[in-house]
């Protein structure tokens, strides 16, 4: 099987990669925030994404709600879910050895995913709302991908503005820079933990809503995204939030080019190989950051 790879095809791959990369970046930002503030890797991040996807699906299937409008529901809903998860479960393992938080969130994700299987079965469902693509010069741009990318970009920018300009955002960044010192300065870090977890879950939920427009919705849809988000964080450098954005775009492009040049099946494999090589050569990420 040899297909002539032309420059146009490469460009096409890069463009579609960039479009998915924007969504990856938004989802990974949530994971990076939790990791930065609490030193916790939330293995249930993909599960929260799945809940966001189902929120959009049900609102669309039952009430015919515009999936993009349902972002206004899935984000706050998942914010609340995240707040409660943090309040009752994760808060107990903040500061404990890593094993506790990793396995705790893993257990939560297994529990929630299987509850979803029991309530909604493991059928693949889809939100058929926006389909087709348009041509921009020689390049075909998928409409759902372009629109989801724009929304993801919008939400990511909003999150950055929130982190940089509001008092709570500054408190979040302060806590992630130095937890004890932030506490000494009068920041209620437990409260910041809750808000951070809520915000991160909201970002995951919004990611799920956007993904449901492009791909199928099913209880295990979020599984790959924990790894992807982590990859994005490592690409960008831990604790480096703008780096996470760049990391998302890189991951998108790598996946798209692998599908184009080798096989769609191997897109995860190349991303994985890239992670291992990166960890060997530059464990602090491409842009540098704290380990």
């Amino acid at each position: 099987m040899t297909i002539q790879i032309t420059g146009t095809m490469l460009l096409q791959g890069i463009v579609s990669g960039l479009l998915s990369g924007g969504v990856y970046a938004m989802i990974a930002l949530g994971m990076a925030l939790i990791f930065g503030v609490m030193r916790v890797i939330n293995v249930a991040h993909g599960t929260l994404l799945m809940l966001g996807g189902f929120t959009t699906y049900w609102l669309f299937a039952l009430y015919g709600l515009n999936p993009f409008f349902s972002l206004l529901i899935s984000f706050p809903l998942l914010f609340l879910v995240g707040l409660l998860l943090q309040r009752f479960f994760v808060s107990r393992v903040v500061g404990a050895p890593e094993l506790s938080s990793l396995i705790l969130t893993f257990g939560l994700s297994i529990f929630i995913t299987n509850m979803a299987v029991m309530s909604w079965t493991s059928d693949y469902r889809s939100v058929e709302f926006l389909t087709g693509s348009f041509l921009l010069g020689p390049i075909a741009i998928s409409k759902p991908r372009l629109v989801t990318f724009s929304f993801a970009l919008l939400i990511t920018v909003a999150a950055f503005l929130f982190l940089n300009n509001t008092k709570i955002g500054k408190a979040i960044r302060a806590t992630s820079q130095h937890r004890e010192l932030a506490q000494v300065c009068g920041i209620n870090v437990r409260r910041i933990d809750m808000i951070t977890f809520g915000l991160a879950s909201g970002l995951a939920g919004a990611g799920g809503s956007l993904i449901s427009i492009m791909f199928s919705v099913f209880p295990e849809m979020g599984r790959g995204y924990v790894f992807k988000s982590f990859l994005v964080i490592v690409f960008g450098g831990a604790g480096n939030y703008p780096g996470a954005f760049l990391g998302g775009l890189i991951l998108g492009i790598v996946e798209a080019l692998t599908s184009l040049l080798l096989s769609a099946q191997l897109s995860e494999v190349t991303a994985y190989v890239l992670l291992v090589v990166l960890l060997l050569l530059r464990p602090t990420g491409l842009l540098g950051g704290r380990t």
Binding site: E98, I103, L104, F106, G107, F111, F230, V269, V277, T291
Partner: protein, 306 residues
């Protein structure tokens, strides 16, 4: 005390060894599965229970072993026993490939890399379909009797137990425990933490490699989806945690109790046991982090070596 322990061990081994003489096939098959889970839970215990580095992808080694054995049996014509033993070599090689870059780093790099590993190995197995049969998998000719497998699986469970005993009672094990308690301090004391973690990981990966080979022989048909299910990793983790991580007999206890539970729950509710496993994980981490055996150790002053 020592003689008593040896006597009890001898009685249990003799009982299990002669069991095929007087029990039904159902009990034998069920015990074989418990052996499998004991070996798998002990293998997870070796890396995660002792060093505190969480492996979310141990099923990748299990699956690698299963495919290695199945390929050697069908394409090369090996007997299943050496073929399964070769599974440990491929599984350990895979572990070396992942462990070397990831275990040098502290933090969650290892855990999440292992989370992705499973999907990657499955994708590779599906991709190289001339060797692995792709999505339709590999079928082995049926076996006449399950008994050789019963003894083989019992042997590997015992080997897992002995390796864990040897590890925990040795200098090597104490050093691994020091990594779990405080890695920076351990390093400062001159313990080569990166190398030791890697050794523990290699042993820990070799065991499921062999078990996977036996499993392939046992089910006689393997395909990517059924050989790399996330639930296998979940089950190993929950069994080890529930029984008591970092102990010798904790995984045995967890594997036995939860296998019985699984057998009971499966007949009644199809999906609920996975959800319950998730709930047990959450429960154990929050309320009983040392597991059943850990609690008993504390309450009744049992020796550290149990």
């Amino acid at each position: 005390m020592r003689w008593l322990a040896l006597l009890i061990a001898f009685i249990i081994l003799a009982g299990l060894g002669t069991m095929p003489l007087y029990t039904s096939n159902y009990i034998i098959t069920f015990t074989l599965q418990i052996f499998m889970w004991i070996a798998l839970a002990e293998s997870w215990n070796l890396i995660s229970g002792l060093t505190g580095y969480v492996s979310f992808g141990h099923v990748a080694f299990f699956g690698t072993g299963a495919y290695t054995a199945a390929i050697l049996i069908t394409k090369v014509g090996w007997h299943w026993l050496p073929a399964s033993l070769m599974g440990s070599v491929t599984a350990a090689s895979l572990a070396l490939l992942i462990g070397y870059p990831c275990l040098r780093l502290k933090g969650p790099y290892f855990a999440i890399s292992m989370l992705g590993l499973n999907e990657v190995v499955r994708a590779l197995v599906s991709y190289f379909d001339s060797l692995t049969g792709g999505g339709s998998g590999i079928t082995l000719s049926p076996m006449n009797s399950i008994l050789p497998l019963y003894y083989a699986m019992g042997g590997i469970a015992l080997a897992g137990l002995v390796i864990t005993y040897w590890t925990i009672t040795s200098r090597f094990g104490l050093r691994l425990l020091s990594i779990r308690e405080n890695e920076v301090a351990a390093e400062a004391m001159g313990i080569p933490t990166a190398a030791l973690k890697l050794y523990a990981f290699l042993i820990s990966a070799a065991l499921p490699g062999i078990v996977g080979g036996f499993y392939a022989r046992y089910v006689s048909h393997i395909e990517p989806l059924g050989t790399f299910p996330l639930i296998t990793t979940v089950t190993m983790i929950v069994m080890c945690l529930f029984g008591g991580r970092g102990t010798i007999f904790g995984p045995v206890l967890g594997a036995t109790l939860l296998s019985l539970f699984q057998e009971w729950a499966w007949a009644r509710f199809l999906y609920i046991h996975e959800a319950i496993f998730g709930a047990i994980i959450v429960f154990v981490i929050l309320l009983m982090p040392r597991g059943i055996l850990g609690v008993l150790q504390q309450r009744y002053r049992l020796p550290r070596i149990v």
